[in-house]
Amino acid sequence: MKKAIEIRDLSVAYDRRPVVEDVTLSIPSEAMVGIVGPNGGGKSTLLKALLGLVTKIRGEVEVLGRPVDRRVLRLVGYVPQREDVDWNFPVSAFDVVMMGRVPSMKLLRRPTARDKELVWEALKTVGMEKHADTRIGEFSGGQQQRVFLARALAQEAEVLLLDEPVSGVDAPSQHEIFDLLRRLQGAGKTVIVTTHDLSCVAERFDLALLLNRRVVAFGRPEEVFTPELLNETYQSHLMVLKVGERTVALEDRGQGG
């Protein structure tokens, strides 16, 4: 099977404090992967390492079979955490999605008919085409996430990386977003999501990565969501209860959320 992401022996540190250590991982294309783990466990950092946004101490990252460079990055769509974005900026949903076309636009060129077509198509895919002219700050959390996802689609990304797309988003919208990701996977995209929502990963994702600085486990959710592995991942931050046939995991989110 073709590989979307290949990580070998990756370590990343901030101020000499290791955040991600010795990660070796291979993600097949057209998979839908949920990355779960405690706050500070390196989930966001791992995504950023895939994008070349953090300096790695050692290790190699390959995306779609090639080392990460500007050309490959065009094929990777990134949806950052909501807090990273300035929502007061005067741009419409259409403007934001058009930004996805900027990396492949020549300088000084106006958007071509094809650029516009890709933007509209992306807006339709996420169900936001009726709100194209609305200013980004006026959307709900779920709508903002869908617009950002549309930007990644307009970029013609093959691999989608989403950092906590459903945090601060109401429950119905969370389901919409995960349904949408499922459909995109069906359309041939590789989808990688960091999340705190273990049940959602269990129900809807093909693969789960348990990450607490190191890879604790990587495999199908039903195989890796065991009390032992979850306890090892979250340590004291998770209570795993057995209720009859079912395993219930309760996460102590602290203040970070």
Binding site: K48, L51, G52, L53, R70, R71, L73, R74, V76, G77, Y78, V79, P80, D84, V85, D86, N88, F89, P90, V91, S92, D95, V96, M98, M99, G100, V102, P103, M105, L107, L108, R135, F148, R151, Q155
Partner: protein
């Protein structure tokens, strides 16, 4: 009425002053929109003050004032980036240290050449009516450079300003664009120092764009509206200064300030601009 409007234009210095200040307002409106949204007001003020060291030195050495101002502004911008990148002091601190230092150098230099101080004070507080034809050509040329560079990189600059992380992640050279923005800010400030003065440049950068921000929904509209508001402030300010015999730079800024408060009252929605200004920072 027509007499009141056209009368002052019989004088060459008034024609040049009007033309120069409208040119400057247009350039400031363009860059100011980035300054307001990126919270660069403090660094803009710093570059303006720093350029005074260059103005004073150039004045004494008899070289082009604009060149001196530009060199100092750019060197300060790069210096702020370099010092704060090391991480030993915050960028706010680096800005504070460098701009007061270079400004003090300017004051020191002019304190040695007291015969010229009145001319140099024109740069501090603005004296648009003393602009020569050669100044006008310099301002026009620098304005064209700014306009051309922003046009070429407009979409990339917008992407990097709105969402620098994702811009970098999708292969846009976000860091280099940030330096480009600072360099353009330096050029813009240099064009504006004679019109409104070093002390008030930041107002011409920030105020018309802040006004435009209150009632525009798209970034390019914000740019166009702030250019228009800046030009209107410049025109009204110069006529005011002519008829009331007050300082031109101050008159321009006060008109812009009045327009801002009118817009604030009319739109009645205080989007959180102050918060942005507090987060002003340079290249980090």
């Amino acid at each position: 009425m027509a007499d009141h409007l056209l009368g002052p234009l019989e004088f060459g210095f008034m024609q040049r002053g009007l033309l120069a200040s409208v040119l400057v307002a247009v350039i400031c409106g363009l860059l100011g929109s980035f300054v307001v949204l990126k919270g660069l007001a403090f660094i803009g003020d710093a570059l303006a003050h720093a350029s005074f060291g260059g103005v004073a030195l150039a004045f004494v050495l008899g070289i082009n004032i604009y060149l001196g101002a530009f060199v100092f502004a750019i060197a300060t911008a790069l210096g702020i980036g370099a010092i704060s990148r090391r991480g030993r002091v915050s960028s706010d601190t680096a800005i504070g240290v460098l701009f007061s230092g270079t400004f003090a150098l300017g004051i020191l230099v002019i304190s040695r050449v007291d015969s010229y101080t009145t001319d140099l004070f024109g740069y501090l507080f603005g004296d648009v009516l003393s602009i020569t034809e050669r100044d006008l050509w310099t301002i026009g040329a620098l304005g064209l450079v700014v306009l051309a560079l922003v046009s070429v990189f407009y979409r990339q600059l917008l992407f990097a300003a709105f969402d620098p992380t994702v811009a970098a992640a999708s292969g846009i050279p976000a860091r280099r664009l940030e330096y480009l923005l600072l360099a353009l800010l330096g050029v813009t400030i240099v064009t504006a120092i004679q019109a409104v003065g070093i002390v008030m440049v930041v107002a011409l950068l920030v105020t018309p764009s802040a006004t435009a921000y209150l009632f525009t929904r798209r970034f390019h509209h914000m740019i166009l509206v702030s250019m228009a508001i800046g030009s209107l402030s410049a025109l009204l300010g110069i006529y005011l200064s002519y008829y009331l015999d007050v300082a031109s730079g101050a008159a321009i800024i006060l008109v812009a300030t009045a327009l801002f408060f009118i817009a604030l009252a009319v739109t009645g929605r205080g989007r959180r601009l102050s918060e942005k200004a507090e987060h002003s920072s340079g290249v980090t």
